[in-house]
């Protein structure tokens, strides 16, 4: 049996003592280097799946497997989130009191890099996303597109295998959204990243190698 990079088995998540069923038994396999778009209406369980895949939450039933091992068996979920997974959020979630350069260094605080190594890597990543002129700007001094590029650079800080993006273009105008999609696509192919993008946007989904549709907490296509 071939081993998938990420896999879910009968994955379910409920809230409020079972009153809200966000996921109702999801089986999904994602291979290394895949670009998967997860689509569906609001409240269909897309973001919940992303959070469970990223180890931000624990399932009510079923399991998430990373390289064949369940995350619940993973002794160090923090290390999984820090080293194996990168997150990109719709609302960017940059820290407002830190500059772009400092924001990108935040995930590297967990790890063995020296201060100088962190700085050099953050500079290189910001250069890679085209923000070499904006290193010392604070988030409120950046456009929405620039903020999302900082967030993407931050998600790559520890060289993860998996990038989980939750509506990454949801807060952007069409021009910025296109640039972000180009950037994500380029990074995915250059780095052979496994990219899972939750999106409503058909244009985003069309760029993916595979689309997974959700409805009422289940995969429907």
């Amino acid at each position: 049996m071939s081993e998938h990079l990420l896999e879910t088995r009968d994955l379910a998540k409920s809230y409020d003592g079972g009153r809200i069923q966000a996921l109702r038994g999801v089986d999904l396999e994602v291979d290394a280097g895949e670009f998967v778009a997860i689509r569906g209406p609001s409240g269909s369980g897309k973001s919940t799946l992303l959070h469970l895949l990223g180890g931000l939450d624990t399932p009510s039933r079923g399991e998430v497997l990373y390289r064949g091992r369940t995350l619940s068996e993973c002794a160090d979920l923090d290390a999984y989130r820090s080293q194996s997974v990168g997150f990109v959020f719709q609302a960017f979630h940059l820290l407002p009191t830190l500059t772009a350069l400092q924001n990108v260094q935040v995930p590297m605080c967990e790890g063995n890099r020296t201060r100088r190594e962190r700085l050099e890597r953050a500079e290189a990543l910001l250069r890679e996303v085209g923000l070499e002129e904006r290193l010392q700007q604070y988030p409120n001094e950046l456009s929405a597109g620039e903020r999302q590029r900082v967030a993407i650079a931050r998600s790559l800080a520890n060289g993860p295998e998996i990038l989980l993006a939750d509506e990454p273009t949801g807060n952007l105008d069409s021009e910025s959204a296109a640039r972000i999609l180009d950037l994500l696509g380029g990074l995915q192919s250059e780095r052979n990243l496994t990219l899972l993008v939750v999106t409503h946007d058909p244009e985003v989904a069309e760029r993916a190698q595979r689309q997974v549709h959700f409805r009422n907490g289940r995969i429907c296509a």
Partner: protein, 369 residues
């Protein structure tokens, strides 16, 4: 990141630091004052060369011991000299009261005084010597007259001692004080200077041996080392415990201030903490971040408090009305104590907010509005 977070709400951070500064300032001022008070008392004996105080019961009783005990004390081989002393609290003016000490004119303790004006008193003459602080307070100099217990006395001299207690007192011939204060032939006690220790005997053993000898030869009297009298008397203990109690109240208020600030800060940054958790930060790192912020606030406030506390005391010591206060000299011990207390109270205040912040679920925190 901790410093950046504090810059987000500079006014709140400054106010919190001021709260800590008040607590630490109060601690430095009050506990420092108590320590300095004890130190001045130590100097009171040390500079005069007094090794042992011999009293009946407590040294606070101004007429506890017969003056005639002095001859028996001086006859003890280990005793080099014994000076009878008594005291009373006297009102010099409506605003100024001071301790008047009764000495004999042959007292060895005169060696520690510098005569600034006039001369020492002689025998039992109706005269008084003023410490320089007291002379300034009541505006008298050598040649003037002062009234003590209704009797006019000539100010024959103004002196300077090496401790601020003595500088704020007056010296009267012992028999004048006994007469004016109706003490009869009683004294408060004797200040004893010992002969040098025999070779091979430690100063501590010499002192203990002398105490035992005096107490065995003069039953009913207590021979206390001057250091112990200064350290353990109930005035110093009262001042010290009052200082600690008052400081603790101020420090408790400072703890509440820091705890409130840190709780608000964590509450406001719920989502940011969720982001940090999502980016792989461990709970322990979140705790460290919040504690670092709390301790930075505490240390900043502590430094401010140390400076403010010392400046306040220096200002008090410079005002004529409070010039008798012992001066507090900034010391590494006070500095270290103040900063340690600031650090401990801020860490204690930050613990609960830090624990709460570290327990945030990343998903719940990210959803937080």
């Amino acid at each position: 990141m901790a410093f950046a977070n504090m810059r987000r709400r500079p006014f709140r951070a400054a106010l919190t630091a001021c709260g800590v500064a008040l607590g630490i300032g109060a601690f430095v001022a009050l506990v420092g004052f108590a320590d300095s008070f004890e130190e001045q008392w130590q100097q009171f004996y040390r500079t005069k060369g007094t090794d042992i105080c011999v009293v009946r019961g407590t040294f606070m009783n101004k007429a506890s011991t017969d003056e005639s005990v002095g001859d028996r004390l001086r006859a003890i081989p280990v005793v080099a000299d014994a000076a009878p002393v008594s005291f009373d609290l006297v009102e010099f003016t409506q605003d100024v009261s001071a301790v008047v000490q009764g000495w004999v004119d042959t007292s060895f303790e005169f060696e520690a005084l510098t005569i600034l004006q006039g001369r020492r008193f002689r025998g039992d003459e109706p005269a008084v010597m003023l410490g320089e602080l007291l002379a300034n307070s009541i505006g008298k100099k050598a040649g003037d007259q002062v009234e003590i217990q209704g009797a006019p006395l000539l100010v024959v001299g103004v002196f300077r001692a090496q401790d601020s207690f003595s500088n704020d007192t007056a010296l009267l011939p012992l028999h004048q004080l006994q007469r004016l204060s109706d003490l009869g032939a009683k004294v408060a006690g004797f200040h004893v200077r010992l002969r040098p220790a025999a070779p091979g005997t430690t100063p501590e053993d010499h002192l203990r041996g002398a105490q035992r000898t005096i107490e065995s030869q003069l039953p009913g009297l207590k021979a206390m080392s001057a250091g112990a009298v200064a350290r353990d008397n109930h005035i110093v203990n009262f001042i010290r415990s009052t200082a600690w109690a008052t400081s603790l109240i101020a420090l408790f208020i400072a703890v509440l201030g820091v705890a409130n600030t840190m709780a608000m800060s964590v509450f406001e940054r719920t989502r940011e903490i969720g982001v940090l958790r999502a980016l792989g930060w461990r709970r322990s790192r979140i705790v460290r971040l919040i504690l670092l912020e709390a301790s930075t606030l505490g240390l900043a406030g502590g430094l401010l408090g140390l400076v403010a506390g010392h400046l306040g005391l220096w200002a008090l010591a410079s005002i004529r009305a409070t010039a008798g206060l012992p001066r507090i000299y900034p010391s590494l011990i006070h500095f270290g104590q103040g900063l340690c207390i600031a650090l401990i109270i801020s860490l204690a205040a930050g613990l609960l907010p830090a624990w709460r912040g570290a327990r945030f679920s990343p998903t719940a925190a990210l959803r937080y509005e």
